[in-house]
């Protein structure tokens, strides 16, 4: 049977991808950011996941205002890295897992979550920067990736509670798939940042740290936090953090299993406009 072995959480700042692509990762500004992922890079070589279920948001790339799906599951066989206006990132093609994705669609929709299914879409930095942070710059990504795009661009975005619940439904779906697969679920975006208006540049270190504490120890309580708290405390784009609750909801303890082990916890300010947070939780 397929099983979710671990969850990974990380910011997906586009400038991190640009720094890597342009060979700037050794510069003083970027060094401390990448150092936070040294552990994860080694850890994932040992873990060898077969599939990553990657929760991220599209940034007006695949989805314009013509179509705004709240939860979009990538059921296709491959996904091309997009040209977001600066030219496409020089990263490998992303290969999906259509069989597992179809199984998840069947299960999660029957559990009352009305997903949008996407067979053809380009993927932007929200998906490729986390892969780069954890895998570096390989010729090909070492595993399959199922993209799960969440609308956090146009309000209302899904609530933390809804995200936490859909994570639980995704876990149930994965663990009822017959093939023996090592699956990880990643939650990306955040942490505190605001990219717009006179309030641009907002960072809230204390709030971010509390968010990490609660994500580990009290995810159900954290999931009840209303959107306005994210906006006021963590900036208008800090709302991306609701996506971390999807990954957290898919962990074993939420379904009555053992508490996960915290394998890595990292926090750094700044990367461009953003606070960078990173966690690795392993199921026991």
């Amino acid at each position: 049977m397929a099983r979710i072995t671990a969850s990974v959480y990380t910011s997906h700042v586009p400038a991190i991808g640009a720094a890597l692509d342009l060979g700037k990762s050794g510069e003083d500004y970027w060094k401390p950011v990448f150092a936070g992922y040294d552990f994860g890079k080694e850890w994932i070589k040992e873990q060898k996941p077969d599939v990553i279920f990657l929760v991220y948001n599209d940034h007006a790339t695949a989805f314009s205002l013509d179509l705004i799906p709240t939860f979009a599951l990538g059921t296709g066989a491959s996904f091309t890295p997009a040209d977001e206006g600066w030219g496409p990132r020089p990263v490998p093609m992303v290969h999906g897992h259509p069989e597992l994705a179809a199984h998840i669609a069947q299960s999660v929709i029957q559990d009352d979550f009305d997903l949008t299914l996407v067979n053809k879409m380009e993927v932007d930095h929200g998906l490729t920067v986390p892969l780069s942070l954890m895998f570096g710059q390989p010729e090909a990504w070492p595993c399959k990736v199922i993209p799960f795009a969440v609308n956090v661009v146009q309000y209302p975005v899904p609530s933390g509670r809804r995200c936490f619940q859909i994570g639980q439904a995704i876990r149930k779906a994965v663990e009822s798939f017959d093939e023996d697969l090592n699956v990880q679920i990643w939650g990306t975006g955040g942490m505190s940042h605001q990219l717009q208006g006179p309030r641009a540049g907002l960072i809230n270190r204390e709030w971010d740290k509390r968010f990490l504490d609660r994500l580990i120890a009290d995810p159900a309580g954290l999931a009840t936090m209303p959107h306005i708290d994210y906006v006021r405390e963590a900036g208008s784009e800090g709302i991306e953090l609701v996506m971390w609750l999807i990954a957290r909801g898919a962990m074993a303890d939420v379904a009555g299993g053992a508490q996960p082990t915290v394998k890595q916890r990292f926090y750094h300010v700044p990367a461009s406009n953003t606070a960078v947070g990173h966690l690795i939780l392993e199921n026991n």
């Binding site: 007006a60 309000y155 209302p156 717009q196 006179p198 309030r199 540049g201 809230n204």
Partner: protein
Amino acid sequence: MALEKPYKDVPGTIIFDAEQSRKGYWLNQFCMSLMQAANRARFKADERAYLDEWAMSEVQKQAVLARDLNWCMQTGGNIYFLAKIGATDGKSFQQMAGSMTGMTEEEYRNMMIAGGRSADGNRYLGEDGDAQPHRQPQGAAGQKGNA
């Protein structure tokens, strides 16, 4: 009946909701068109003529021509869409974000390196933080006005 929008009292912030999205539909779709190199070239060659191909309001066109991102957002623009204009101009996301504060590029970058903008005084309209309307523009540009 009015729906709940608790985010209207956050200073220096426009939340892109369904209402803003309706207002900004053509502005944002124009921005999306700049993801194609051929369109970027046509826009650069004659900005006004290219904008006139879109069903945008005159105010939206003026806001784009002025590269005033705060103004663009007031008329329904969303920062992720507006970023395509910045990309066309060869600007980084940090340069775009900084431009909305009135700070110079260097001032904004230094604020971020120093840990970013504090939430204190910037949670509710009417407080006295640096993102409040009565404290714009920020940085040296604002100090000049007070001298």
